[in-house]
């Protein structure tokens, strides 16, 4: 499994590599953290090309710094590489500093995320998925210090930011197995979302839930590695999104098919019926088999 491999690779890397909190030019390219190569050198050590529009570089830097680098930041990196190739080390160092991307604030944690992002990219995970997860992850991670894993959370589709831990009974807006008839999803409480973007919305929530749930487990269990399961779940969220679109297509074009549904790993469901708009029902707890979907 990819996550297992990355976990072991990180352990091996840490055993043999010192984390460098400062970005630097090396023979192999532009390097940061635990030897992660942001941009690889080509013919010679001085020949490094920075693609300021490159998704890979953006994903790596977003993972390292927990923010999307601006175009201006990336332009300084590109300029740094340019003057580095001309032998002007001092000016290169200045542009690295001006990029505001050259230093890790929390070297161990930042280098770890950077390492994982690099591994995910090499394994074929789209750069956009990594950026998306990073955008959603830090806030969820920080909330661990304040809330316990089993506190109620705001359900998706409730009109408030979904998936967040909350207090009291606010999270109870989602139907529970004790308040609803068995196997019934009360969509009168969880407002279904109707439209062409249903599958994408479901994926958005699914990825967010993967981060929140698995880091929540980590808070409650020191032996639980959230990276292992969250990565897998995010991949399954993304795959289900792709297949969800295929179901939608299939329902429309297959003459015998009248209705289809895609159940996302977090329990969100997209229902598709021939000739009608797709409907996304956010999760309100896990949906058991034989659930009755009761659209509005």
């Amino acid at each position: 499994m990819l996550a297992d491999r990355l976990g072991k690779a990180w352990e091996a890397c840490r055993a043999s590599t010192t984390i460098d909190r400062n970005m630097r030019f090396a023979d192999e390219g532009l390097v940061l953290g635990a030897g992660t190569i942001l941009a690889r050198s080509r013919g010679s050590a001085r020949d490094i090309a920075i693609d300021a529009n490159g998704h890979r570089l953006t994903a790596l830097l977003a993972a390292a710094h927990l923010r999307n680098p601006s175009f201006s930041d990336l332009a300084h990196l590109r300029k740094a590489a340019e003057v580095w190739s001309q032998g002007d080390d001092a000016l290169a160092a200045m542009h690295l500093a001006l990029s505001r991307l050259n230093q890790l604030r929390e070297p161990e944690a930042d280098a770890h995320r950077l390492f994982l992002a690099d591994g995910l990219l090499k394994s074929g995970v789209p750069a956009d998925e990594i950026v998306f997860a990073i955008e959603r992850g830090p806030a969820a991670f920080q909330r661990l210090h304040k809330y316990s894993a089993d506190q109620p959370r705001v359900p998706a589709g409730s009109g408030r930011p979904s998936g967040q831990w909350t207090s009291g009974s606010a999270g109870g807006a989602a139907p529970s197995s004790t308040s609803s008839p068995p196997g019934t999803l009360n969509t009168g409480v969880i407002m279904p979302i109707i439209g062409d973007d249903a599958c994408n919305l479901a994926r958005t929530d699914c990825v967010q839930h993967a981060m929140i749930d698995d880091y929540g487990k980590a808070a409650a269990n020191d032996n639980f590695d959230p990276q292992v399961t969250a990565v897998r779940r995010m991949a399954d969220c993304a795959k289900t999104n792709v297949l969800c679109s295929m179901v939608s297509f299939g329902v429309e074009v297959l003459p015998n098919a009248v209705r289809g549904a895609a159940i996302f790993p977090d329990g969100g469901v997209v229902v598709m019926e021939k000739g009608k708009e797709d409907m996304y029902i956010p999760r309100g707890g896990r949906i058991p088999p034989q659930t009755i979907l009761r659209p509005r």
Binding site: A235, D236, K239, L243, M246, G250, V258, A261, Q290
Partner: protein
């Protein structure tokens, strides 16, 4: 949109495993089309019949992506005129 109920991934006690697969041609076609569009292969098909679900075909849809789980697809005839199907990633049932 009417209520949608779907069979559990694992056949329950009300379902009878059957072998007269020609009767399930419609669901086979749905699964084959879905798998082809996903560049994947449908395996481990199970054919059952019950009063509640009608003819049911379950299959695992496996592709070459080692980073994500296989997909489970369940197609059933129900009592209406058309077929219905649901997909979900394996491991989250």
């Amino acid at each position: 949109m009417d209520d949608l109920q779907f069979p559990p991934w694992r056949p329950d006690s009300t379902e009878t495993v059957v072998s007269d697969q020609p009767a399930f041609h419609g669901c086979d076609e749905v699964i084959d089309t879905f798998a082809a569009k996903a560049n994947a292969t449908a395996t481990d098909r199970v054919y059952t019949r019950s009063k509640q679900w009608g003819d049911v075909v379950r299959a695992r849809v496996v592709d070459n992506n080692p980073n994500a789980s296989p997909t489970l697809i369940t197609c059933w005839s129900g009592s209406g005129d058309g077929l219905q199907f649901v997909i979900q990633a394996e491991g989250y049932q």
